[in-house]
Subunit: 437 residues, 2 copies
Amino acid sequence: MAGSFQTVKGFRDFYPEQMALRNYLVDAWRRVSIRNGFVEYEAAMLEYLDLFRVKSGEGIVSELFSLVDRGGRELAIAPEITPSLARMINARIGGLPRPIKWFSIPHVCRAENPQKGRGREFYQWNVDVVGSDEVLADAECIFTLVDLLAELNLSPADAAVFLSSRSLLAAALASVGVANEKHEAVLPVLDKRDKVPPEAFEEMALKAGLEAAQIDRLRRFQDSTTLAEAIGYLEPTDAVATARAALEEVLKLLGAMGAGDYVKLDLHVVRGLAYYTGVVYEAFDSGRALRALAGGGRYDNLLELLGGPKIGATGFGMGDIVLGILLAEKGKLPDFAERCDCFIIDAGEGMFDDALAIVAELRRAGLAAGFSYKRQALGKQLRAAGQKGAAIAVIVGQELRDRGEVVVKDMATGEQAPVARAELARELQSRPRGLAR
Amino acid sequence: MAGSFQTVKGFRDFYPEQMALRNYLVDAWRRVSIRNGFVEYEAAMLEYLDLFRVKSGEGIVSELFSLVDRGGRELAIAPEITPSLARMINARIGGLPRPIKWFSIPHVCRAENPQKGRGREFYQWNVDVVGSDEVLADAECIFTLVDLLAELNLSPADAAVFLSSRSLLAAALASVGVANEKHEAVLPVLDKRDKVPPEAFEEMALKAGLEAAQIDRLRRFQDSTTLAEAIGYLEPTDAVATARAALEEVLKLLGAMGAGDYVKLDLHVVRGLAYYTGVVYEAFDSGRALRALAGGGRYDNLLELLGGPKIGATGFGMGDIVLGILLAEKGKLPDFAERCDCFIIDAGEGMFDDALAIVAELRRAGLAAGFSYKRQALGKQLRAAGQKGAAIAVIVGQELRDRGEVVVKDMATGEQAPVARAELARELQSRPRGLAR
C-alpha cells in the first residue's frame, strides 16, 4: 500500500510555503471583491451530476470527478461554480434585491491531464452580477478584475484584459452571410484560431461551412486593432451597429474608471463555452507565454436554462495556478515568513511558569508569542528566537521577582531595556509586529 | 431533471449570511492559530482510499465519499485530516524543524445520515504538534482551544474542555486486573457510558469481559471529580503513577497559562478512535445539550503506522457546525452586514462619468464604494445608499465643475459638508469604515 501514501496525481498538497501563497491570493481576491461591492457565497461541495449535464451536455461527464452515493444518487465535484450560482439564485429569486453582486472562491476539480498551469484541481475566484442587462455590470466586473491585477502590483505591462463581444461576433458572421445555424460550428473555430497554425485554421473553417471569401473577411475583422477598422470589414447591419455601440460603451466606462490602460480590444477572444451572449474577455500575461489568467463575459440565458427566469448575468473566473506562476515569474510575490512577534525566554530556576503565563497573556492580547519547549540556557533560547524570526525577545528572570520587571530585547539592534510586567502587553502592542514579511 | 436543481441532502449552500458566519469562524480559527505559533497547511482535496483503510480499517470505506478515477484508482474525499497530515509530514520528515506546529481548516465529508449538529460535510479546524513527546505540547494545544473559546466570547460558563488520559485509563484497567488483550474491547464501552442507560452499559461491559467488581471500580473511578479520588479506586502501580503525573502536569501548565477555569477533569472522556495514546479531551457546551465542540489528544503511533518514524504527536479538531449553533444560542454572534463604506451619487446632467471615476479611485484606495446602476434622482440614490447601509454618501454635482468639490453627507446624522475632490480619498480613509457590524 506504499502508493497510498503519495499525493494523488494532479492534486496539490499545500505545505506552509504554498499555503502562504494561496492565502495571499485568496486574501487579495476577497479584499478586492468586497471593496467593489460584491458579497461572498459558496455552493455545496457536491452537486447532482445532472446539473452539469443540463448546462454542458453529456460530454461533460468524462471531465468530472463523479461518484454514486449510498442512496444511488449520481453526484459530482463541481468543475466550475456558475451552474451552482444559477441554482442558488434561482432557488431564492424572489427574495434577492437586484442587481445581485456575488463572489465566491470555490475549490473546483476537473478530470484532465495535468500540464503547466493546469492541475486537476484549483481555486477559482468568481465574480458575477446577476439581474442586470446594463453594460455597466459588464464594466464593473472587468474593473474588478483590473483592480485585482493592480492590487497584486501587476502593471498593464505585466498583464491585460482582452475584450471582445459574442454579439458582435454573431452580427459579424451574419453580416458576411454565414447562416445562423452554422454559428455554433463556426464560433469554436474562430476561438481556436490563435492556438493552431494558419493552414489548420483554414481547414477547420472550410469544414465548418465557411467560404474562402468569408474566411478572409473574418480574419481581417479579428485582426483589427480598432473597432472602427473591424467594422469596416462587415456589412453595416443594425445588429452590427447595436453590438458595436455596446462594446464601445464598455470601453468608455472602463476609461472613465481609469482602467483603460489594462483593457485592449481583441476580437480573437471568443471563449469556448457556448453560453456567452454579449461582451466576452480573457486576461493574459502580456507576453502571452502562459495560459489565460481569467475569462468571462455575459451569459443571459443560463438561469433560464437551469429552471429560473430569463435574467441578465455577467461575470468572470480566475484560477490560482497561472496567477501564482505569473507573480513568481515577475518577482511580484512578497517574502512569506512565519509570524512571530515576540519570543519569551525563561532565565533562571523556577521562572518557566512565569514565562508561560506571559506567553498566554500576550497571545490573548493578539500577539504571536513563541517559546521553547526545551528548558535551555539563555543563549540557546535567544538563538531559537532568532531562528523563528522574532522581532523581540522577552527575558523573564530574577528581575520579575525583585522588581516586577522583565527585559525586552530588540532582536535586530540588540538593545535591551526593562519593562514593567504589568505594562508588557501594552508596550509590545505599540511596536511594529513581526508580520509576514 | 428538476431534482438536479436541489442542494444535495446533507450538504450546505452558503448564501451570503451563512458565508459571513463561516468566515467569522474561520478568521477566528486562523487568528488564534497564528498567535499561538501554528502555521497553516492543507492536504490535497482527494486522497487514495487506502490511506484511510490503513488508519481505520475496511469499515471506514462505507463512511467515505469515494470514487474511481479514469485511471481506475480508488480515491476519496477526506473524512478527517489527520491521515493526510501524517502523510505530508512523513514525506518531508528530514527537512522539517521540530516541533512541527501546524494547523489546517479542511472541508471534510462523511457519508453519514444528517442530524442536528452533524451534516455530511463540515469545516474542521485542526491544530497539531508533531515531533514532541512533552506534555507541554498537549498543554499548548489545549490552551489554543481555550484561547479560541475566549476569542469568541464563550466563557467557562458557556463551554469547557473535559480532560482525561488514555494512558491513565489503560493503567486503570491493568491495575484492576483487566488483561491487555481485553482493552481494545473495553475502551469503547467506557467511551459509550455517558450515551447509554446504566443497564445497557453494564450489559456491554460484561460482554466485553469485565467482572462485576471491576465494573464497579471503574465506574467509581470514572465518576471521580478529582484525580486523587480516582486514583484511590485503583491499585498503586507504576503505570498509574506515571499516567497520573503526566495528567497533573498538563493541568498545572494550563493553570500557569491562566486557562484553568476552562479545563475540567472528566474520566468519562475516552474518545472513540483507537489511535490515541496519552492525554485525551473533548470540548462541550456546559449544558451538554449539543454534540462535542472539539476533540483530541495524543497519538504517538500514527505516523509510524503510515510509513514514517515513531514520533510523538498531539492535537485536536473542531467543526464549524456545533460551534455555530452554540454561538447563536448564546447570542454571541455579531450582526453580519454587507460592507459599504460610502455610496457615490451623481447629481446633475453629465456627472456620471465623474462619479464613476470617484468610485474607482476610492475602491483602489481600499474603500468599499457603492453606486447605483440606474441613473436616478438624488433622493432615490440617497435611499439606495441607505439600503446598502452606507455610512457616507458622496454627492457629485455641479460643485465639482465650479470649485473642484464634492459634498460628503454623513448618513447617520444627515450633516453634509463640501470636500475638495483631491482630498476625498484621504478624508474618507480617516473616518470609521462601514465594516461588518
